[in-house]
Amino acid sequence: MVAILPELISTGFLILVLLVGAFSESNTGAAVGLAAIGTLAVFVSSAVLLATGFSGSFFGGGYVVDGFALYFKLIVAGSAFFAVLAAARWSGQTGDAPEYLTLILSVVLGSTLLVSMRDLFGIFLAIELATIPSYAMVAFDRSRRESAEGGMKYLITGVIASSVLLYGIVLIYGVSGSAMLSDVADTFTGSLTPVAVLGLVLMISGFAFKLSAAPFHFWTPDAYQGAPTSAAAFLSVGPKAATFAVLLRILLEGMPEAAPTWTAVMAFLAIITMFVGNLFALRQRNVRRMLAYSSVAHSGYILAAFAALQGGGVAFAVQAVLIYTAAYAVMNMGAFLVIDLVGEDAKSYNGLVRTNPGVAASMALFMAALVGIPPLSGFFGKLWIIIAGAPTGSVLVYIVVGALVVNTVLSVPYYFGIIRNMIFEEPTTDTVTSKGGAAVRFSVYVLAVLATLFGLLIVPLSALVGASGLA
């Protein structure tokens, strides 16, 4: 029971919120309150499990609770909390808050289950549990055509990705005769059979779709642009972190002997993803679309850590993924929430520092953090990746790390374009001074403080990831 406490809590609150929607007329306040308490409860229960050092394997070894899984449950629940606060304002206007919040809680349930799964079919089911509600979340804004369009594109590519992933899993199952990662590890040794390689490549491709890694990233800009801001903010952070986590688990627990094969694939994906994300982001005038490409680029940075999962770099590379996802959650969530307050046209940021200094300063911090300027959060993520790359002794990884450094400089113009608009330009009539949203505003400030003081957070965080239990 204790092992699945966070999941039980999210299930319970999911049902409660749904019931509120069904039986209450003016239901927004109650639903938001319940959902916020629910996500907080998931967060706290995971934190307590982590603090008490709870760990173990359950359901015949198919479900594991360890520091690694709990860490990602914290990220999922934490980002969901801010998404709920942001959803409060938006879904209140259309009157179907409970449905939207139910979707968020379902994604939380799927993602928290996902990071604990040790069985390939369990993993697939958890991914679907997290993804299917997210299609609806993207398409939820019925007042905008882009929302339906984005949702449709996301649905179609998502279903294709799922089937590719499932083909890969089935082939791996066929080769190893078991879906348990520990059994898979016994088969993926020595030289791999062609079928095993095919299974591996298909599975990674499926994940690449889900993680919006180039060349499988094309759904991302449309989906994030169309989605309600809270949905884009949450989906780009929480479930994505969980997907990275489970991919890490599959690769390290399920096929450690095949590392030379998959690290090469990861290096390749990382390099294209970084360049595609940043080069396309440079061309965007729409901030939401820019952030979508930016999230592609950041997937590339995290994949760079995956490429470093070899030689002496394994321990640091695992830590890098953990640190980076936390750092990214803080700064990207914050940036998306600012869009919710200000708008998605780059021009609406003109002169924001004069009309709305607090929000402008926060956005400037998020942008600088996304570049990776110290001492803000993004810097520490990149620091860990570079440090992980060094002891691998692989030329390919050095190239990946070099590409990361180049891309960091490459990303300066588009992030700083926003800062320039906010600070150097005169306010225009387009500038939205304030659209209210006290909860969103509060979230933005909290996240800005977290992004700024990440240098202090890193002390407990680095101790935590050092003892996460994976590698």
Binding site: P374, I386, I387, A390, V409, I423, F424, G455
Partner: protein, 484 residues
């Protein structure tokens, strides 16, 4: 502890600025009051601990990221103390000289204070990653100071500044990380002498670090970001921009690259000395061609930075002491000249040298102090710059005779353009009838100018005030690199 407190006070100052009501007099006095505290603390350190700033006195070592062996390690030694002091001093001067800033004053002071945190941190950091973090903290406030409060060309200048120096420091970080990973620590104390790296590894690590530092200085030909930034900035930003920021690079060279990677830097030393000469000669020639008084001062400032590179590369006691000292004297004289140019431009409405003339008749104080600053820049004996330039050249001559001789010739070139400038601007007939109306600098302006002039003279007559303090630390560097 006192080091950390001094670094953090400006941060509190920045927060205080944002909280205060938007009232000009209050903001100016409050900013001045906050900025005075680090200055007074530094002066206290000078008198209380000045005799034992050998290696890393007043230090603090707190483990920060255990798994990577990164620590919050700060300390003050004779290499950094001069610049640590100058940063606190010039911040006060910059606040006094901020009369040309009236828009968004609280944000202006807040940005100045954040920049001060970064500057103080760099000169106190005893950990490579911490050094880099403080190095970068200066970036965003400087970007804003230029980009928001500069003249009409400010925006391209600001972004150019940012991208160039960010690129440089990112490359430098790569070098730091490679160094730390190979030596398994980032503590400068533990890394002294190369941290056990082979000569080849040291050279490989030193190359990116030197590149990043030389961009920051900037060494010609890596200087193309600089002119627009200097010319576009408000006067008080110029004070920090020319007085302190280049020294982040030269200090990194003297206190980080040379003692930590002695064998790695060694093959580059002749080239660094040559960069120094190129700065001196190129700066002097190009300054000669500038129609704009501020651009002339900017190139003069780039030129005399060359003496720091020259002295640092010499690898002997005279040269290194000269380089460390020149960091301070360069900051004093360039801040003085930039402020005077600001006063002249505010009075006459122009900075074009051909439109100026005969100002000494109407502005005897400004004219006289401009002459003092220009004479300091050309190395007149009795002023601080003379001592440090002379020492740098002597040191360089012993190590690299050709570079030493060329640098000495550079002083003659600088005398030419500076005397020409003085002749045009303050002497001769009054160029325009409307200049009859202008008045000399008032008390509000003099209060930012006079302290600089006084320190230039005092340090010129009693250089031992600073040199005695920095000598033990320089000796420690020499014992690492095996120089004399």
């Amino acid at each position: 502890m006192i080091t950390t407190v001094t670094i953090l006070i400006p941060l509190l100052g920045a927060i205080l600025m944002m909280l205060l009501p938007d009232e000009e007099r209050l903001l100016r006095y409050a900013a001045l009051g906050v900025a005075a505290v680090p200055l007074l603390l530094t002066v206290y350190v000078y008198f209380a601990f000045g005799d034992d700033l050998g290696v890393a006195a007043l230090s603090q070592d707190v483990t920060w990221i255990r798994s990577l062996n990164i620590g919050y390690r700060v300390g003050l030694n004779g290499l950094g103390f001069g610049m640590f002091f100058l940063s606190t001093f010039l911040t006060v001067i910059a606040i006094l000289a901020s009369w040309d800033v009236s828009r968004n004053l609280k944000q202006y002071f807040a940005a100045l204070f954040v920049a001060e945190v970064g500057m103080l941190g760099v000169f106190a950091a005893q950990d490579l990653i911490l050094f880099y973090i403080f190095f970068e903290i200066t970036l965003i406030p400087m970007y804003l100071l230029v980009g928001v409060w500069g003249d009409e060309n400010r925006r391209p200048a600001a972004i150019k500044f940012f991208i160039y120096t960010f690129l440089g420091s990112t490359v430098m970080l790569a070098g730091f990380l490679a160094f730390g990973i190979l030596a398994d620590t980032y503590s400068m104390d533990a890394l002294g002498g190369g941290g056990g790296l082979s000569r080849t590894a040291q050279v490989a690590v030193a190359a990116p670090i030197l590149f990043g530092l030389l961009v920051k200085v900037p060494a010609v030909p890596l200087h193309s970001w600089l002119l627009d930034v200097y010319v576009s900035s408000p006067t008080s930003t110029n004070v920090l921009l020319s007085g302190v920021l280049p020294k982040l690079g030269t200090y990194g060279l003297i206190a980080v690259a040379i003692p930590l990677l002695p064998q790695g830097v060694e093959p580059f030393l002749p080239y660094i000395a040559a960069f120094g000469v190129v700065n001196i000669v190129y700066g002097a020639f190009v300054a000669f061609l500038q129609p704009d008084l501020k651009a002339l001062v900017a190139y003069s400032s780039i030129g005399t930075l060359g003496f720091i590179l020259l002295g640092a590369a010499s690898g002997n006691s005279v040269g290194l002491n000269g380089a460390v000292f020149q960091q301070v004297s360069h900051g004093l004289y360039s801040a003085l000249l930039f402020i005077l140019v600001g006063v002249i431009a505010a009075r006459t409405g122009t900075r074009r040298i051909e439109e100026l003339g005969g100002l000494a008749a109407r502005m005897p104080w400004v004219g006289g102090l401009l002459a003092l600053g220009a004479l300091a820049a050309m190395g007149l004996p009795g002023l601080a710059v003379f001592v440090s330039e002379f020492m740098s050249i002597m040191g360089a001559y012993a190590a690299f005779p050709v570079q030493g001789v060329l640098a000495a010739l550079g002083i003659i070139l600088s005398a030419m353009y500076l005397l020409y400038m003085l002749g045009r601007v303050i002497f001769g007939p009054i160029e325009r009838p409307e200049y009859d109306e202008i008045v000399d600098a008032g008390p509000a302006e003099m209060v930012s100018i006079v302290p600089l002039a006084v320190l230039l003279v005092v340090l010129g007559i009693f250089p031992a005030l600073l040199i005695s303090l920095q000598r033990p630390a320089v000796d420690a560097v020499l014992s690492v690199i095996g120089g004399s």
